[in-house]
């Protein structure tokens, strides 16, 4: 079976960035490195303004991922659905490229008659179950997010419950922005267990600015560090899904 790895950034925010680089550009950069960027916009009673909405969709679009705007109370279901859907999209991309190699033309799954798609789908399903997954969660802790953080924590624990039911390995890391001193702060280093979040999350303080771009950039470099650290520790050559959609 394919032993690749799927790498995702999950950005949870409630509005528009107001400091630093353009997050849409950073998302495009992530995609070039084979990392998918998904965005969840959290609303309460208020509505996210047009500008925030456009940015959320833009980040996901250029990051090759999925975006969704939800009310805080639906967050748990959405977080796991978005992660799973993005994972399936990446796998489908890989499978489609394999198909093109086998069939020799610009064939994708949609070009196959429905009868033949079933078998391909079984491969996609199998991969979704067994592939290793790295999810970096990036949480907006600007002032307006303050009363939503408890819900975010619940949703992340729920995500971990869903993903650990799979056969494949999972690695999570959590960043918040803005941080105490810098634009972004690492809350949880790469770990297979998200449960340790419970204690850290309640001590979070919220800040005023929303430096989405710089935060995404820091998240990207965290993937790099992880990779180089791994290669130092062991010499098993890891293959990544290279996204070139």
């Amino acid at each position: 079976m394919y032993t690749g790895k799927i790498r995702q950034i999950l950005l949870i925010t409630d509005g528009c960035s107001n400091q630093g680089e353009d997050p849409i550009a950073i998302a495009a950069l992530a995609k070039e490195q084979g990392i998918t960027v998904n965005v969840i916009g959290v609303m309460e009673h208020d509505v996210i303004d047009e500008k925030g909405m456009t940015e959320i969709e833009g980040i996901a679009l250029s990051g090759g991922g999925v975006s969704q705007i939800v009310y805080a109370k639906q967050l748990s279901q959405t977080v796991q659905m978005v992660t799973r859907k993005a994972m399936n999209q990446t796998i489908q991309g890989v499978v489609n490229r394999e198909l093109q190699q086998i069939l020799g033309r610009s064939q994708t799954m949609e070009d196959l008659p429905p009868e033949k798609r079933g078998e391909v789908m079984e491969v996609v399903d199998e991969l979704g179950e067994t592939v290793d997954l790295e999810v970096l969660i990036l949480v907006d802790t600007s002032a307006s997010m303050k009363h939503k953080l408890e819900t975010v924590k619940e949703a992340l624990l729920d995500l971990s419950l869903s993903l650990t039911a799979r056969t494949g390995n999972n690695h999570f890391s959590v960043f918040v922005f803005p941080g105490k001193k810098n634009n972004v702060e690492k809350l949880l280093d790469w770990t297979p267990k998200l449960q340790s979040l419970t204690s850290i999350f309640s001590q979070l303080s919220t800040g005023g600015i929303t430096p989405t771009g710089p935060a995404l950039k820091a998240a990207l470099s965290s993937f790099d560090q992880k990779r180089s650290l791994r290669s130092l520790l062991s010499d098993d050559d890891e293959s990544y899904f290279e996204e070139s959609v």
Binding site: E57, A60, L61, G64, G65, V66, S67, Q68, I69, S76, Q77, M81, V82, R84, K85, N88, Q89, Q92, G93, N96, T108, M109, E110, P113, P114, E115, R117, G118, V120, M121, E122, V124, D125, E129, D158, L161, S162, L163, T164, A165, R166, T167, V245
Partner: protein
């Protein structure tokens, strides 16, 4: 390659639209929308003068995945009731691109909770025995239904027969559950993992039984077995089944058949007790409802008929219960 970037862009089709398949060139006329979910929209469609349900989604993957499940059900012998039978799979070329759809048997009837509200709680054990029977077949074939909830359970017939309609959550055993609804998910209540096991479905069955006494559901407070057991004890109509429900919630049943046998047991063990319960329930209602023996007072013009209907219905329920136990007895 084109990919969907949002989950919300569901395709809406106006009634009267004729959908022609790209591969099999069959024509379907859309009559109305039956329902929609995360994975697409289901329409009532007319094909060669007969009705069928047509599910379409801009996510071709989920369509293919569901078709796989339905096909595998079709291979199981005597499994007519596991899910709707599959009639056609195809793509529809629209101005917005290719949309995958599949066509299945149209199962007509109220959903489980509406049925119980109309016909009375006495139907509850009957329908749950049927459901457990179907689930047992499903589990024996290596599947777990996953997203089991009243909205996905339709009571077809006559004679009334419970049917599962949405196979979007159906997962191979041992994998991670594909789709679920929080209230019926054991992970949400802190009572187990999201791995596809038969006990995952049985938890959902127990939650649906609780749901039948709490049509509006309730929110998680403390979660865990304490809150759920409290909820069961507050409703007299659930008391007779408390032992079975709690056991299923805690994942103590290894098969649907085992749960079914115990449910049947608690019906036959205390026939007097449960009848007394039913009677007191009825008299309370009568006192409140101006001598109307029927708890649902919406249809005033059928009052007298309803009274006879009730008696008839109780006799039938008893006969059905006796036949069922006989059937089980012979099977053993």
């Amino acid at each position: 390659m084109m990919m969907n970037h949002t989950l919300k862009s569901q395709y809406k089709v106006i009634p009267g639209t004729v959908i022609t398949g790209k591969w099999h060139t069959q024509k379907y006329t859309i009559v109305k929308e039956l329902g929609f979910g995360a994975n697409g929209v289901v329409y009532l469609a007319k094909h060669n003068e007969s009705f069928a349900a047509l599910k379409m989604s801009d996510n071709g993957l989920s369509i293919t995945s569901e078709v796989n499940v339905l096909k595998s059900f079709a291979k199981v012998q005597g499994s007519a009731s596991l899910g709707p039978s599959l009639l056609d799979v195809d793509d529809w070329q629209t101005s917005r691109g290719l949309i995958s759809f599949y066509v299945m048997e149209y199962i007509q009837g109220p959903d489980l909770l509406s049925f119980l509200q109309q016909k009375g709680q006495a139907w509850m054990p009957v329908l749950f025995l049927q459901l457990l029977n179907d689930l047992d077949k499903l589990h024996n074939n290596g599947w777990v239904f996953g997203d089991l909830k009243p909205e996905n359970l339709i009571v077809g017939g006559p004679p009334p027969k419970i049917r599962c309609i949405d196979v979007g959550g159906t997962t191979m055993q041992g994998r991670a559950i594909k789709e679920f609804t929080e209230f019926y998910d054991r992970g949400y209540w802190g009572l187990g993992s999201r791995r596809a096991e038969s006990s995952y479905d049985l938890f959902a069955v127990a939650m649906i039984m609780i749901n039948s006494a709490y049509p509006k559901r309730f929110n998680k407070t403390t979660g865990g077995i304490t809150q759920l057991r409290g909820a069961i004890r507050e409703r007299p109509e659930l008391r007779p089944y408390e032992a079975v429900i709690v056991k299923a919630l805690q994942g103590h049943y290894t098969s649907a058949n085992q749960m079914r046998a115990e449910l049947l047991n608690c019906l036959s063990d205390h026939p007097g007790k449960s009848r007394i319960n039913a009677n007191t329930f009825k008299t309370q209602k009568t006192a409140q409802g101006q001598k109307n023996p029927h708890p649902m007072t919406r249809r005033h013009y059928r009052k007298s008929k309803k009274k006879r209907g009730w008696m008839e219905f109780f006799t039938i329920a008893m006969v059905a219960a006796v036949l069922y136990s006989l059937y089980i007895f012979l099977k053993l």
